[in-house]
C-alpha cells in the first residue's frame, strides 16, 4: 500500500501543470493470476485544465475491452423431440471481455444518449453480424443471450467494479479479470465527465498474458498438441504401472 501512495504522490507532482486537455498522465497496470482470476489495477490522474486546476465534481468512467475475436452463438431448438443446436448467429468480431467501471452509477453521471454517442456500455457497441437482413430479426435475441452468457462467465462486467477518486484528480480502480479471460491485446479507455459532459478521454493499450501452471498447460496443449497428447499418455501409463505395483502387494 505504501508503494502505491508513493507512486500517487509522484503522479500528483508530475501531472502536467498547464495541459489543454484533461487526460490520464500516468498509469500502472498489474495483473496477478491465480486459479480464480486476477485484478487489473489501474491508476490515473486528471491533469489541470485551462480553467485552472478545477478537478472538483469530476466523474471517471473506465472501460476495459478485451481482444476481438470471431464469435458464434448457437441456439437450441426442439427437433423430433430432442433439443438440438439449430439456429446460429456469427459475429465477425466481438470483444472477449468487456468491463465498465465508474465512480458512481452511470445514470447519475450523464444521460444515456451521451453514453450511446461515446460508445460506453456493451449494448452501445453496435456489433456487426454476418448473414444479412434475414438474421436481423433473430439478432436481438442472440445479442441478449451473448450478454447474459458473458456476464455469467464474468467476462462482461458492467458497473461491478468501482473507480475510487482519491483526490487531486487522482483515481484508481480494480477491474476483475476472471481466470477464463482471453489473452491478447486489451484497450483501457478512461473517460472524464464533468457536470454530465464528456470532457476528455484517453486510451491505453495493454497486453494480457497469463502466467502460472494453468497457463503453461494451456499453452503446451495448443502450441505442441502432439507432444501434449504424448505426455498425457506417458503420465497415464506410468500411473497405471505404479498402481499395478502397489496393488500387487
Amino acid at each position: 500500500m505504501k508503494r502505491w501512495l508513493g507512486l500517487l504522490a509522484l503522479l500528483a507532482l508530475t501531472a502536467p501543470a498547464s495541459a489543454l486537455v484533461t487526460d490520464i498522465s500516468e498509469r500502472r497496470i498489474e495483473i496477478r493470476y491465480s486459479f480464480n482470476g486476477a485484478d487489473l489495477i489501474l491508476f490515473g490522474a486528471v491533469g489541470s485544465t485551462v480553467l485552472g486546476s478545477d478537478t472538483s465534481g469530476i466523474d471517471i468512467v473506465v472501460v476495459v475491452r478485451g481482444p476481438e475475436a470471431p464469435t458464434k452463438l448457437r441456439r437450441k431448438e426442439r427437433v423430433a423431440g430432442i433439443w438440438v443446436n439449430h439456429g446460429s448467429l456469427t459475429l465477425p468480431s466481438a470483444p472477449g471481455y468487456y468491463a465498465v467501471a465508474a465512480n458512481r452509477h452511470l445514470a447519475d453521471i450523464a444521460t444515456p444518449e451521451i453514453f450511446t454517442a461515446s460508445g460506453i456500455g456493451f449494448s452501445n457497441l453496435r456489433l456487426a453480424y454476418a448473414g444479412g437482413p434475414g438474421k436481423a430479426e433473430a439478432a436481438p435475441e442472440f445479442l441478449k443471450a451473448l450478454k447474459r452468457l458473458r456476464a455469467e462467465d464474468g467476462l462482461l462486467r458492467e458497473e461491478l467494479d468501482v473507480v475510487k477518486i482519491i483526490g487531486e484528480g487522482l483515481f484508481r480502480t480494480n477491474v476483475r479479470l476472471p481466470a477464463n479471460a482471453p489473452v491478447g491485446q486489451y484497450q483501457v479507455d478512461a473517460f472524464v465527465f464533468q457536470e454530465g459532459r464528456l470532457q476528455a478521454r484517453n486510451r491505453i493499450d495493454m497486453t494480457v498474458d497469463k502466467e502460472g501452471f494453468e497457463r503453461a498447460v494451456y499453452s503446451f496443449a495448443h502450441e505442441w498438441p502432439f507432444f501434449y497428447g504424448l505426455t498425457a499418455v506417458v503420465i497415464a501409463l506410468l500411473a497405471g504401472w505404479v498402481a499395478a505395483l502397489v496393488g500387487r502387494r
Binding site: A69, K72, A145, L149, N180, H222, F226, A236
Partner: protein, 313 residues
C-alpha cells in the same frame, strides 16, 4: 480447494474430482469394467464440457487398463496376437472417430452426438445385461444349470467363409483376421466419440462372435484398450486440444484407489447379482442422459469460438 482446470476452463474442487474418480473406480473395480461409460457422463453432469469429458476420460482409462492388463498378463491371460490385431482395427477406428468428432464439433453437433451415442449404447447394453442377469438369477433360484453350447457350434457359418484366416494359438482359434479387425474398429470409434474403453462391446463380441476362451478375453481386451485409449488421447490432443491433463491426473488418483477397494467388495457379491446391479446403474445413467436431451434446457444459447470449441455446455 479449488483448482482451475486449464482445458475444461472451469474451477473445480480438487477433492470433489478425486472423489468422482474414486466412485467410478470403486464401481469399475467391483464389476471388473473400465468405467469409462460412467466417468464421461459423470464429468458432463459436473459441468465439464462434453468434448473435454470424452477426451480426458479416454486418457484416464489408459492408466486403469494398464494396471488391469498387467495383472492378466502375469497369469497368462493375454492373447498377444489377437490383441495386436484388435489394436490395429482400433487404431483405424479411433482415427476415424476423432475425425468425425472434429467435423461435428465445427458444426456444433458434437455434444448431441456424444449424448445420443450414450443413450443408445447404455440403453441397449444395460437392457440386454439386465434381462440376461435376471434370467441367470431366476435360473440359479430354480436350480437349473445354464444351457451350454458345444464349442464347435459357436461360430456361425458365415464367419468361416470370411477370407484372410489367421491362427491365434492362445485362443485356440483359426478365423478370419477381418473379424477382430472389425471389432477393434467399432471399439476404436466408440473410444474416441464416447471416451470409453469399449469393453462392454468388445468382451461379448470376443466371447460370442470370435468364440474366444473366457480366460483370455478380459486380459486381451484390456491390452487393446491401453493402446486405443492412448491413440484416442493423442488424436484428440492434436485435433481439438480437449485433453485436460490435471483433470485426468486427479481422476486417476481417485480411480486407482477406488478400484482397489471396489475389487475387494466385488468378491463378496454373486456374479449374476453384480451384473444386475451394473445393468441398473448403466440404465440409470443412460436415462439421465436421455432426460437431458428431451427436457427443455435452462439455457438455450451457447457461445463457441469459430473453430467450433464450445465455451459453455
Amino acid at each position: 480447494m479449488p483448482l482451475y482446470l486449464p482445458i475444461a476452463e472451469l474451477s473445480m474442487n480438487i477433492f470433489l474430482v478425486v472423489a468422482m474418480g474414486g466412485a467410478v473406480g470403486f464401481l469399475s473395480g467391483m464389476f471388473g469394467v473400465g468405467g469409462g461409460f460412467l466417468m464421461t457422463p459423470l464429468l458432463m453432469f459436473a459441468g465439464v464440457p462434453p468434448t473435454v469429458a470424452v477426451a480426458t476420460g479416454a486418457n484416464q482409462l489408459t492408466a486403469a487398463s494398464v494396471s488391469g492388463a498387467m495383472a492378466h498378463w502375469r497369469r497368462g491371460g493375454v492373447d498377444l496376437k489377437m490383441g495386436l490385431v484388435l489394436t490395429a482395427g482400433g487404431a483405424v477406428g479411433a482415427f476415424v472417430g476423432a475425425f468425425l468428432f472434429k467435423l461435428l464439433r465445427a458444426a456444433g453437433q458434437v455434444d448431441l452426438m456424444i449424448s445420443l451415442a450414450y443413450v443408445l449404447f447404455l440403453g441397449a447394453v444395460g437392457g440386454l445385461m439386465f434381462v440376461e442377469s435376471v434370467r441367470a438369477i431366476l435360473r440359479a433360484r430354480a436350480g437349473t444349470p445354464p444351457p451350454m453350447k458345444p464349442r464347435e457350434e459357436r461360430h456361425k457359418a458365415w464367419i468361416h467363409k470370411l477370407p484372410w484366416k489367421m491362427r491365434f494359438k492362445k485362443s485356440r482359434l483359426y478365423i478370419s483376421a477381418l473379424l477382430p479387425l472389425g471389432i477393434g474398429f467399432v471399439v476404436g470409434i466408440l473410444s474416441s466419440i464416447m471416451g470409453v474403453g469399449g469393453g462392454f462391446i468388445m468382451v461379448p463380441a470376443m466371447i460370442y462372435l470370435l468364440g474366444m476362451p473366457t480366460g483370455v478375453v478380459i486380459g486381451t481386451s484390456l491390452f487393446q484398450i491401453i493402446f486405443v485409449t492412448a491413440l484416442t488421447t493423442i488424436f484428440h490432443s492434436v485435433n481439438t486440444q480437449t485433453v485436460d491433463i490435471p483433470l485426468a491426473i486427479l481422476l486417476l488418483i481417485g480411480a486407482v484407489t477406488g478400484a482397489q477397494i471396489g475389487a475387494k467388495v466385488g468378491m463378496k457379491l454373486k456374479p449374476e447379482q453384480m451384473r444386475a446391479l451394473l445393468a441398473l446403474i448403466v440404465l440409470l445413467v443412460g436415462l439421465r442422459m436421455a432426460v437431458d436431451l428431451v427436457i427443455e434446457p435452462a439455457e438455450l444459447y451457447s457461445i463457441s469460438d469459430m473453430d467450433g470449441a464450445e465455451e459453455r455446455p
